[in-house]
Symmetry: C3
Subunit: 203 residues, 3 copies
Amino acid sequence: MLYFTIEILGTIAFTLSGVLAAMHKKLDPFGIFIIGFVTALGGGTLRDLILGVQPVFWLVDLSYMYVIVISVLLGMVFRNQLRYLRSSLFLFDTLGIGLFTMVGLEKGLAAGLEPIMCVAIGTITASFGGVIRDILCNEIPIIFRKEIYATACIVGGVSYFLLKLTPLREEWVFAIPIVIVILIRLLAVKYRLSLPTIYKSEK
Amino acid sequence: MLYFTIEILGTIAFTLSGVLAAMHKKLDPFGIFIIGFVTALGGGTLRDLILGVQPVFWLVDLSYMYVIVISVLLGMVFRNQLRYLRSSLFLFDTLGIGLFTMVGLEKGLAAGLEPIMCVAIGTITASFGGVIRDILCNEIPIIFRKEIYATACIVGGVSYFLLKLTPLREEWVFAIPIVIVILIRLLAVKYRLSLPTIYKSEK
Amino acid sequence: MLYFTIEILGTIAFTLSGVLAAMHKKLDPFGIFIIGFVTALGGGTLRDLILGVQPVFWLVDLSYMYVIVISVLLGMVFRNQLRYLRSSLFLFDTLGIGLFTMVGLEKGLAAGLEPIMCVAIGTITASFGGVIRDILCNEIPIIFRKEIYATACIVGGVSYFLLKLTPLREEWVFAIPIVIVILIRLLAVKYRLSLPTIYKSEK
C-alpha cells in the first residue's frame, strides 16, 4: 500500500518536471502530455524492456495513465503558479528519484541480478525518464552535464546492499537509501555541488 | 488481404516522408535509408517492444524491408519530382496514420488491453515513427509543436470503441475510424488548425 | 575463447569512442560513463530487444560492466594522451565494427532469421551504439552524414553468406568478413571516401 502510494507520488513529481520542460519549449498540449508521460514512465519502461518484463507495467495498470493525465491537466491550468514553483522542481524530482531508485533496484533483485546490476537498474529507472525528456526537447541531458543526480541514485543503491548486512529491519533497509538519495540531491542543489570537472579551467 | 495491402501502402507513405526529411538534412544514401526505415517501422517496433511481441514484425516478414528499399531508391531517383510533391507529404502521412492507428489498436486488443491503452498503442504505432525520425534529424518532434496529428489518432481510436457499441458491420467499425483520422488531419492542414495554445500571445 | 576476447577488445574500443565524444561536449564524469556505456552496448542492446533476447546480455554477464568502467576511468585519466590519439579513434571504431557485425549476424542466424535480416542485425549491432551516442550528444548521427561505416558492415555481412557457399573452413568464413569490414573502413578513411552524394554541387 505504501509502496503503491510512493509510486503515485513519484509519478506526479516526474510528470510535472516533464510538463515544465515542455512548456519551456512552448510545445502544444499533446506535446506537453507526451513529455510528461515519458518523463514519468520512460525510466521504468526502459527497465522493463531490458529485463524482459512485458507488457510494460503502465499498459496493464491504468492508474499511471490516470495520474499522468490529471497531473498534466492541472500542470497546464496552474502553469503560472507552477512557474513560481520552478525552484520546487528540484524537490519534485528529488522525491521521485529516491523512490524510483529503490523500486527499480527491487525489480532487479526480483530478476535475480547481481547487486551492481540492481544498482544500475535502479539508477536507470530513476534517471532515464529525464534523459528521454531532454532528448525529446532537443537538449543534451542535464544529468550528463552538471548535476549530482544519478550519483545520488548510485550511492543510495549501494547503501541498500550495505544496510542489508546489518541487523536493521527490512522496512528501514528499504527506507534509509531513499532518504540518502534525497539528502544527497538536496545538499548538492543547496550548495551547488556538481561532480568534479575533469577539464582544465580557462583561468 | 486488404489488411496487408493497406499496411504496404502506409509503409510506402511513411518511408517517403522519412526520405524527404533526410534529404532536407542532406544526409547520405545510407542515412536516407535508415531515416526512411525508422519512420516507416519505428512506431510499430516500439509497439511490439512494449507489448512483448518479439522478434518484432519486420524481422520475420521480409515484405516490409523490400517495400522500404524500393521506396527509398525511387524516392532518391525521383527526388526532384518528390520535392514538387512536398505539399503531398501531408497526404502520404495522413493515409499512413489512419491505417496504422487501427492496426496498432487491434494489436492492443489482441493483447487483451483496456480500450484506453489500445488507443494509446494505436497512437504510438501511427505517430512514433515520425517522432524517432525528427529526433534522428536533431529536431524537436513536429507533432509535439504545431500539428493536429496524434489528436486525430486519438479521436479515431475512441470512435472505434463508440462504433463497436452500434449494430454496424465489423468492416465498417474498422474502416470508419480510418476515414475519421484522415478527415481530421486533412481538415486541420487545410484550415491550418492546431491545438489551442496555452501560452499568452505577445500582443 | 577467441570469441570472448574479441568482444572485450571491441567493447574497449567503442567505450573510448564514446568517452572522446562525451569529453568533446564537456560532459561530467557520470555523463562520460553513460555515453561510453551506451556507445559500447547500445547496438547489442537494441539487437537483443528486437530479437526478444532478455534480460539483455550485459545484465547477466558482468564482464562488460567491468571492462567499460575501467576503460572510462583510464580514458579520463589519460585524456590528454587520448586527445593525441584522436586520429586513432577511427582504428578503435574500425576493429569494433568488424567484430560486432559478425557477432550480431550470428545472433540473427541463431534466431532463425533470413540472411538479409541477419545482415541488418549485424549492421545494427555494430553501428547503433554510435547512433545513440550522437543522439545523446545532440548531433545528427555521423554515420548518416558522411562516413562509409554501415556500408562496410553491410558488405562484410553479405560476404559472409557468399563465403558460406565456398568450401572454406568455418573459422575463415567467420574471420574474412571481419577483415573485409575493417579494410573497407580503413580505405574509406584513408582516401576520404564517402557514399556518392545525391545532391547537386553548388558550383
